[in-house]
């Protein structure tokens, strides 16, 4: 067994408490002098390390670790190791799933949620769509009504799956597999939509402040409209469903266009010497991206829910 790195390799002239003078320096006179063997002493400030006879090789004597001071130091070192290990794991995980960023999107409260839901259903009277920024990111959704959040999309997604199960159960089309199929389908469409948006943003070389999580948030707002339309379809069947769908599509398009206009289109004109390098085609690309993001929502809303509405009751 090789000597571990800690405690430090065998050094008979060093004491266990660093900083003290080696206790035997004054006794060294050119001969190999054996330091006095360890004896249990109540004075722990000058501890002579015990050592094995020279022919046995190096090993940690068990009495070394039984001393309270060494045990304390060893435990503290062990705890420091564990702490740094946890930190390292956290850092590695952070590269793949940004946990600290996700916490920002869930910093919501009831007031924000109610106002945002009202905004999703009736955005026509809201006038100020700008976003306030802190040092390096937008203000938390708790304090800024226009900031995107992930709480509403997540809850709306789960509610959508449950409402789908409910509606299918009312039509006697329910099996437990249907729930997982619905959840997986909706998730797959959301992932696909976000991948398409990311690739589009990369290809057209548009620089925005939108992160991936922002796109996930904006893509998840459509589930609120889907739930509303499907619930309407319970009462009024096909006409109710289409009326609800059209109204929610219009309000969602309006909401997304006004919200994303602030983030995608350049704000105002900045008279700077960069003008020769600014290209007007960037504006056109940004507008197309905006219209694409907003326009794909109604289509997806319809695709994800039209199979849930009940066929009209045959008049007999």
């Amino acid at each position: 067994m090789s000597a571990p790195a800690y405690p430090p390799p065998y050094n008979p002239y060093a004491s266990a408490v660093p900083g003290n003078m080696p206790p035997n320096m004054n006794m060294y006179d050119g001969r190999y002098v054996l330091p006095p063997p360890y004896t249990a002493s109540p004075d722990y400030s000058r501890i002579h390390p015990s050592f094995p006879p020279a022919d046995q090789g190096f090993s940690i004597p068990s009495q070394f670790l039984n001393e309270p001071l060494v045990a304390n130091v060893a435990m503290q070192y062990g705890q420091a190791l564990v702490g740094s290990g946890k930190q390292l794991v956290g850092q590695e995980l952070e590269k793949y799933v940004p946990f600290s960023r996700i916490k920002y999107y869930f910093a919501v409260d009831t007031r924000y949620v109610t106002k945002k839901l009202g905004l999703l259903f009736f955005p026509f009277t809201h006038s100020d769509w700008s976003l306030r920024y802190e040092q390096d990111g937008p203000v938390q959704p708790r304090y800024e009504i226009n900031a995107p959040d992930l709480y509403i999309p997540t809850m709306a997604y789960v509610t959508y799956v449950l409402v789908a199960g409910l509606v299918l159960g009312m039509q006697d089309r329910f099996t437990p597999e249907v729930l997982s199929i619905q959840a997986s389908t909706a998730l797959a469409w959301t992932v696909f939509e976000i991948i398409v948006e990311l690739i589009t943003m990369y290809i057209t070389n548009i620089q925005t402040n939108l992160k991936t999580l922002d796109l996930i948030a904006y893509g998840g707002y459509k589930y609120v409209g889907i739930i509303f339309a499907v619930l309407l379809s319970i009462l009024f069947h096909k006409t109710g469903y289409f009326i609800g769908l059209i109204y929610c599509s219009m309000s969602l398009i309006f909401f997304l266009v006004r919200t994303l206009k602030v983030q995608i289109l350049p704000i105002g004109t900045s008279p700077s010497h960069h003008d020769p390098y600014m290209h007007n085609s960037g504006n056109k690309r940004r507008m197309y991206l905006l219209l694409f993001v907003a326009g794909i929502q109604p289509f997806l809303m319809w695709w994800l829910s039209f199979h849930l509405i009940s066929p009209p009751v045959p008049k007999s």
Binding site: I181, S184, T185, L187, A188, W189, V191, F192, I199, Y202, I203, T204, N205, Y277, H279, S281, G282, H307
Partner: protein
Amino acid sequence: MAFTLWNLLEATLLCLNAVCILHEERFLVKMGWGANQNIQGFGEQPSVRSQVFNLVRSIRTVMRSKYLSILCY
């Protein structure tokens, strides 16, 4: 209709495969889609075509890299 996550994974895999097996010298150059054929200024914005070529090229490089092939074993 049931376009589940598994179907998405399959479609992604097939698309990635299609991107990788397009041989550059045999097809793309002849069709004018080679990676070295675009001349662009330094300060201008890269065109859509050059971005697409860069994307295809980088996907191909990543998929053919040694690190990924080690994953197969």
